[in-house]
């Protein structure tokens, strides 16, 4: 009898190491007005932010839980601690970071990556940043890369107030409202006009606390003609209780600017990842999303781009790997408003061992978006019949002057492709191995080499015999 090709689950060994919980402060579990006020006190919020949080809580309580996606009935906000402060101030040198926390980030390769190939790093541990640094030469260009709390209260306070949760308002959906009420940590980035940040900035989020939530806020403004690549990574050890991630990313890409936003998401399998990301792109601007989703128990993740300016564009490249115990609902959304805008989505997904992967997208072309072009391509690979793979794309087109295409494929490995490679001298095993390993390279080839290697290490393949 033929053996089936075996595809390992994601190798989580380094991510599952738990630090002893030795917090400086842990908020009581639950979500009440008193908790929000206490959180605001702990963070010494300006008055407007305090009011903002309380209003967001009100909206959260009024909004319904979505019923169109994976069930989140295992998430009980009464048993989530929304704020956990580690025993560490924010440092700008790794030597000053407490040893256990530093060891965690060392294992994850963050300091090494910073030394080798990054312009700046923000490292968040539970609810606060423990490290933030930007290279001198980048700071001298006028690039601002700081933690959100400092930006909120310091010289950029007016800018933060102008932009904070305007692109993703608390009314957007229930977990945007939750974020508005309990957000903590995250980064603020401003790139001045015509500035090319040639080396990436990175933020890394590590949630160590059991039964806690992480709600970082990332706000990036790339001014006219500027260029930035921002990378975010995340992980957490696995517990037998639920953890929650409801972060928010707001990206403003000004006229003729370009922003590439790369994410490798590797939360643990007890995590509910309900993240919201949105970009507003002005005339001639471009946003490129590169997204690898490998972790979480349940994930809702659909980076959205609003192509407001004429000639603006969006590209989304993503790969999702849903293994045992995972239900990952991922995709992208785009709204074309300006003239001659373009969008391109290229996604791959792999489901195995009972994992559920759903590709969900929307392409909306408004009447004003004459000359719009959009192409969506999604491929799904099912590796066994215990798993599930769904594609649910929607196109809503309101101008005749648009050129829209969509294609999708679901199936197992193509026998024709295997035959082709074998006709070129490859063994069947090698042919199938090549096809499966190449399936995810739409994302890995868009990442800097170190991250591509990390991503490929997340999917370790062991091939025996043939698939199917």
């Amino acid at each position: 009898m033929e053996e089936k090709t075996y595809v390992d689950d994601i190798d989580r060994s380094i991510y599952d190491i738990k630090d002893v919980e030795d917090d400086d402060f842990r908020m009581q579990e639950g979500l009440t007005e008193e908790i929000i006020k206490k959180l605001s006190d702990e963070k010494d919020d300006p008055e407007w932010m305090r009011e903002f949080r309380l209003n967001a809580l009100k909206i959260y309580n009024e909004k319904k839980i979505p019923d169109w996606g994976p069930s989140i009935e295992g998430l009980d906000m009464d048993h989530i601690a929304t704020y956990v402060r580690p025993k560490s101030n924010m440092e700008n040198t790794w030597d000053n970071v407490p040893q256990d926390i530093k060891d965690t980030f060392e294992r994850l390769g963050i300091p090494q990556a910073e030394r080798k190939s990054l312009a700046g790093v923000g490292a968040q541990y539970d609810s606060e940043l423990v490290y933030h640094n930007v290279k001198d030469e980048v700071a001298e260009q006028g690039v601002v890369y700081t933690d959100m709390e400092s930006a909120l209260k310091g010289e950029y306070a007016d800018m933060v107030k102008e932009y904070f949760m305007k692109l993703v308002p608390p009314t957007d959906h229930k977990f945007a409202a939750l974020h508005g009420a309990v957000w903590s940590g995250g980064s603020f980035v401003y790139v001045p006009k015509n500035t090319d940040v040639s080396i990436p900035l990175q933020s890394y989020f590590r949630l160590n606390a059991k039964g806690a939530g992480q709600f970082e806020h990332t706000l990036i403004i790339v001014d006219e003609g500027a260029n930035l690549h921002f990378i975010e990574g995340c992980s957490a050890p696995k517990y037998n209780v639920a953890n929650l991630h409801a972060g928010c990313v707001e990206l403003y890409v000004k006229k003729n600017a370009k922003l590439r936003y790369s994410t490798i998401e590797n939360w643990s399998k007890n995590m509910y990842n309900l993240n919201t990301k949105r970009a507003l792109v002005e005339e001639g601007g471009a946003v490129e999303w590169v997204s690898g989703s490998f972790g979480s128990h349940v994930g809702y993740l659909y980076p959205m781009s609003v192509l407001k300016g004429d000639n603006s564009r969006m590209e989304f490249t993503g790969v999702t790997f849903a293994g045992n115990g995972q239900n990952l609902d991922t995709g992208a959304k785009v709204v074309h408003i300006g003239k001659n805008t373009s969008s391109y989505m290229n996604t791959r997904s792999i489901s195995k061992s009972g994992g559920i992967s759903t590709f969900r997208s929307s392409v909306v072309v408004q009447k004003s978006a004459t000359g719009a072009k959009s192409a969506v391509s999604c491929e799904s690979l099912m590796l066994d019949s215990e798993s599930r793979s769904d594609t649910i794309p929607v196109m809503d087109i309101r101008t005749k002057d648009a050129n829209i295409g969509h294609e999708a494929k679901i199936g197992s490995i193509s026998d024709d492709a295997v035959f082709y490679l074998m006709s070129r001298g490859m063994s069947e095993e090698d042919a199938r191995a090549l096809i499966v390993s190449g399936f995810a390279d739409n994302v890995s080839k868009e990442l800097p080499l170190e991250y591509a290697v990390e991503m490929n290490n997340l999917i370790r393949l062991e091939m025996k015999g043939s698939i199917g």
Partner: protein, 329 residues
């Protein structure tokens, strides 16, 4: 059997129809459709029950709604085709008043069923529901023409066609082929929903829809191919081509594939846009201006079905329908 929400039906004068098996974001307005319906005045027309016995070959059973009245009507048709039988059923519903049509089909082992429907609407609403279950090796072919005529009245009274087709490929090696052509004009609403459940092994479906939208017509297409666990060896494909010709048209396309089985192949594709430059150039080089080129292509979206029906009488109906809705254009 019907997919109408009965509780809602009895409480209000709106029907919720064309529900997708897998919902998505509500703000897109595609999870289902809602149409006005006066339940209290609905008249039940005579039910047609048709049984084709074992090995019988029956051509051209014509159905119509000649007994429909001016207000709201309901028509039920039950078709059973027994083992190795063959039948073609043709339904021509032209410019009628409000009518709700429910067709239930049971296609027996090795039987072949072809259903051709020509639906036109001017100032009325049509809700058409087809529920088919296919046993082993059964073949079900459905050809639909949706033709909307410009209304002389307000937008609210423009013709609306809603269609919900649900096919169960329960028997191994059963097969469903769907071809559809549509033309929406004025304020027409064309809202259709296809659900194909692959349950048996080695089942096959092919969904092919194309059409044109003029003026301020609205069209929503939801096509769901669902590979249930156990449907190994099955293949499903859906394609839609939409020609957008009006300044205020609205097109929504939702091609869904759901899959719980490893050894299957599912594909979908959609192309939406106006006439491309090359095609326009071709027409202009032959003395045909843009407006006439668009009319020719709009007609072609439905005329292509005349090459598939294999039935001269049906083709004549389609030609007459196009003349009726397009006039001398």
């Amino acid at each position: 059997m019907t997919d109408i929400n009965i509780d809602e039906f009895e409480k209000s004068d709106k029907l919720t129809v064309n529900a997708m098996p897998s919902k998505t974001w509500y703000w897109l307005g595609v999870n289902d459709a809602s149409l006005s319906w006066d339940m209290a005045s609905e008249k039940f027309l005579k039910t047609n029950e048709i049984t084709i016995n074992d090995k019988e070959k029956h051509e051209d059973i014509w159905l119509d709604l000649s007994d429909a009245e001016e207000s709201f009507n309901k028509k039920e048709i039950k078709l059973i085709t027994k083992e190795e039988s063959t039948v073609t059923v043709i339904a021509n519903y032209a410019l009628l008043k409000n009518v709700r049509i429910i067709i239930d089909i049971n296609a027996g082992v090795n039987s072949k069923v072809k259903l051709i429907q020509v639906l036109t609407a001017a100032e009325n609403s049509i809700y058409n529901e087809v529920n088919a279950s296919c046993e082993k090796n059964a073949e079900f072919e459905l050809i639909q023409v949706f033709a909307g005529k410009k209304s002389d009245y307000s937008l609210d009274e423009a013709g609306k066609i809603y269609s919900n087709v649900k096919v169960e490929l329960a028997g191994d090696a059963s097969d469903f082929v769907y071809n559809m052509g549509y033309l929406g004009q004025g304020g027409n609403v064309l809202d259709y929903n296809i659900i194909v459940n692959h349950t048996g092994k080695n089942t096959n479906c092919n969904i092919n829809a194309s059409g044109a939208l003029k003026d301020n017509a609205t069209k929503i297409f939801r096509g769901t191919i669902d590979f249930k666990k156990g449907s190994s060896g099955s293949v499903g494909a859906e394609t839609e081509t939409v020609l957008m010709l009006g300044e205020d048209v609205v097109n929504k396309t939702v091609p869904v594939i759901l899959c719980s089985e490893e050894n299957v192949s599912g594909t979908h594709g959609a192309t939406i846009g106006e006439l491309d430059e090359e095609t326009l150039f071709y027409f202009e080089s032959r003395g045909i201006d843009k407006k006439n080129a668009e009319n020719i292509m709009a007609r072609a979206a439905i005329e292509r079905l005349t090459g598939i029906t294999e039935n001269e009488k049906v083709n004549a109906v389609i030609d007459n329908t196009l003349k009726e809705v397009l006039g001398d254009d």
